[in-house]
């Protein structure tokens, strides 16, 4: 991370899935790594998630879904970001996701997918290596 600024991350639970153990643990791990984490709470619509991301000016959105509805919900978030001209915000996903869905999600714009059993350190390191907090004027407008 070159600018030395704190990453702002939105950890979000789209859809009706109520399993928040992983999302909460990840939020803590990000916090302990020095990031500012906004946690959306449960049962968020993609619209709510995107609006929160815009208002909070986050660099990264982490979507967590264990109900199998990721193929609709994750790309929907990407679409809404595009509508708001905010596709420069990085989006990652995690949860119960069959391997075959991963390439489809990546094609839709999800930068990386993390499965159960993944290490927190890997997720934190990934964020540090792949997400830049925006410097003034560098974001595409």
């Amino acid at each position: 991370m070159t600018s030395g600024r704190k990453l702002r991350i939105l950890v979000a639970k789209p859809g009706l899935d109520g399993h928040d153990r992983g999302a909460k643990i990840l939020a803590r791990a990000y916090r302990d790594a020095g990031f500012e984490v906004i946690y959306s709470g449960l049962h968020q619509t993609p619209e709510q998630i995107v609006q929160a991301a815009l208002q909070e000016d986050v660099d990264l959105i982490g979507l967590s879904c264990l109900s199998g509805a990721h193929m609709y919900l994750f790309p929907r978030v990407i679409d809404l970001l595009k509508e708001s001209k905010a596709e420069d915000i990085t989006v990652i996903g995690g949860g119960i996701i069959p391997m075959d869905d991963i390439p489809k999600l990546k094609k839709a714009g999800i930068k990386e997918v993390f499965l159960p059993g993944g290490s927190l350190k890997d997720m934190v390191d990934w964020a540090k290596a792949n997400v830049e907090p925006c410097r003034y004027g560098e974001r595409k407008e």
Binding site: L16, D17, R21, A27, Y39, A69, P98, L115, P116
Partner: protein
């Protein structure tokens, strides 16, 4: 012994269970010197029930092989149910999709993308009729994992039985119907706590009067454990929830405790640490017996017993090297059996990736059958009794669980504790602690932080139809079109009026489902009257 340790130090500095309870190198009679056989261990089927809830246990009848199952449409699930019954399962258990779990119909905007994905979609009585097609409701018991809308699904089941000429005294099953643990852990939420408890008490009262073989509540620890709690917390919070429910039924319905307590049932997790889990199950029975006898002054010994269903721990499975999950599930199932469970669900190896395929679910079922018929652990009751280690661990778990229960009592009971965020925070802390132990290598996960290969070998996964959601929505629209709309509306109005009094809601729910009101229409009445619950803080 000291000398040999000096020469060659032990593998780890500290040995502990999955829940981080320290485990000694060896246990001796010293560790159980205060144990009194009659007082603490005794015989199965008699107070304090440490060894089992009834005298013959598996010698008389094996535990029920009850596989939690649900996917796609009611027809899809019916097919899987027949497969499982054909392969030797002995009890049914229903997994619903998220819209159904949360009281939404398949055509609700919030249900988009979720229909049928993690369980079966049930919108109206029609769906339940399809689900139970060719299933003899008087020949097999059915469990339904459903919480806020539990009265609705139960009413549908009762209505189907009625339609098929089967008396309610002939049917048996369970509805999970445990809202307190939703607020703590599972988070399928709908109404605020107080009206949720009222609905639960209504169902308990109705069942007591009209459906004697039905367990109207399954006081659950499974989800608390899945959310990351320790074994002690799982036990303590579950029992504390049970205390809250019993208290409410007594206060609100003025029933005699012996009239409903025998029908209370429980649901536990069976996690990785073999002996910790066995000890937990034994401690659970002993504690509940004491609670019912001494705290609630129940007199019927059947009020003191604890019957429970167990599911092997979903959270212990990993996506890496998924075939390893079969071994994990096997060990967990063994612990549950040696812990005396009444029924058991075993997870499938592919559940960290998708809903179970036929291949995977068959192996999971066979796991139980092999344990029952080949391994010999069911030949005698409570085989671990008398083990210095297991009895010591049972005592320790019980002691620590009482500490939690006392703390919760001091806070004013479980409802008050939940409002404060106490159990939620304990669970979040335990979850984070455990994760850090894994990250640090203190706790091992084969294939993840040890012997990880990086190769990706995955079994063929269950594929669901893309048109599922459309078809389900069409079905529900058709039901709404062909029903007597006036009758449906009248039934909803009647329900709304009843809500505002303290009448038991079940008869009104029954009328509504028989008029083919949808699940959401009924739940919306409740939302309208009681308000919707929203999570208020992170408790991180």
């Amino acid at each position: 012994m000291e000398r040999s340790v000096e020469q060659k130090p032990e593998r780890m500095e500290r040995f502990s269970t999955v829940s981080d309870v320290e485990v000694k190198r060896i246990y001796t009679p010293e560790d159980v010197k205060d144990l009194d056989f009659a007082r603490d261990i005794g015989y199965p089927g008699t107070f304090p029930f440490t060894r089992g809830c009834q005298p013959s246990m598996y010698r008389g009848r094996e535990w029920t092989f009850r596989m939690f199952s649900g996917m796609g449409s009611a027809a899809d699930t019916n097919k899987r149910w027949h497969l499982l019954l054909g392969q030797g399962e002995t009890g049914l258990s229903t997994a619903f999709d998220f819209p159904t779990l949360m009281g939404y119909d398949s055509d609700c905007p919030r249900a988009r993308g979720e229909c049928g994905k993690c369980g079966v979609a049930i919108d109206t009585l029609t769906d339940l009729e399809i689900l139970t097609d060719s299933i003899p409701l008087d020949g097999v018991t059915t469990s339904m994992t459903i919480n806020p809308p539990a009265p609705v699904l139960w009413a549908m089941y009762l209505a189907v039985a009625e339609k098929n000429g089967i008396g309610w005294d002939k049917i048996g099953g369970t509805i999970q119907n445990d809202m307190l643990k939703e607020f703590i852990a599972q988070k399928t939420l709908m109404l605020p706590p107080k009206p949720s408890i009222r609905l639960i008490s209504d169902t308990v009262e109705f069942g007591t009067k009209y459906v004697p073989r039905w367990n109207t509540i399954s006081i659950s620890g499974y989800h608390i454990r899945e959310a990351g709690s320790t074994a002690v917390q799982e036990l303590a919070f579950t029992l504390a929830d049970g205390i809250a429910y019993v208290q409410d039924v007594l206060e609100r319905k003025k029933l005699d405790v012996d009239s409903f307590a025998p029908r209370l049932s429980f649901f536990f997790n069976s996690h990785l640490d073999f002996f910790e889990e066995i000890a937990k199950f034994r401690a659970a029975r002993r504690m509940w017996a004491k609670i019912m006898r001494y705290r609630f002054k129940a007199e019927d010994p059947r009020s003191w017993w604890m019957r429970f269903h167990t599911q092997t721990a979903g959270c212990s499975l990993v996506a890496q090297q998924p075939y390893n999950n079969v071994i994990r599930t096997t060990a967990e199932a063994l612990a549950a059996v040696m812990g005396g469970t009444q029924s058991l669900h075993t997870n499938s190896l592919d559940e960290t990736l998708a809903l179970p395929s036929e291949f995977a679910v068959t192996i999971a079922l066979r796991t139980q059958q092999i344990i029952a018929d080949e391994i010999g652990v069911a030949n005698t009751i409570d085989p671990m009794a008398g083990s210095y280690f297991v009895e010591s661990l049972t005592n320790e778990i019980e002691e620590r669980a009482w500490e939690y229960i006392n703390r919760i009592d001091e806070m004013g009971g479980m409802l008050a504790a939940i409002e404060r965020g106490f159990p939620q925070r304990e669970i979040a802390d335990a979850a984070y602690h455990y994760q850090q132990q894994i990250e640090g290598g203190e706790k091992v996960v084969i294939g993840v932080n040890k012997y990880s290969t990086g190769e990706q070998v995955y079994p063929p996964l269950l594929q669901m139809s893309e048109e599922l959601e459309e078809e389900q929505i069409a079905r529900t629209i058709e039901v709404k079109r062909t029903r007597d709309s006036r009758k449906a509306l009248q039934s909803l109005n009647a329900l709304r009026a009843a809500c505002k009094t303290d009448k038991n809601m079940m008869p009104y729910v029954l009328e509504a489902v028989k008029a083919y009101a949808t699940e959401q229409e009924i739940c919306d009445v409740w939302r309208g009257v009681f308000g919707e619950y929203r999570e208020s803080s992170v408790h991180l």
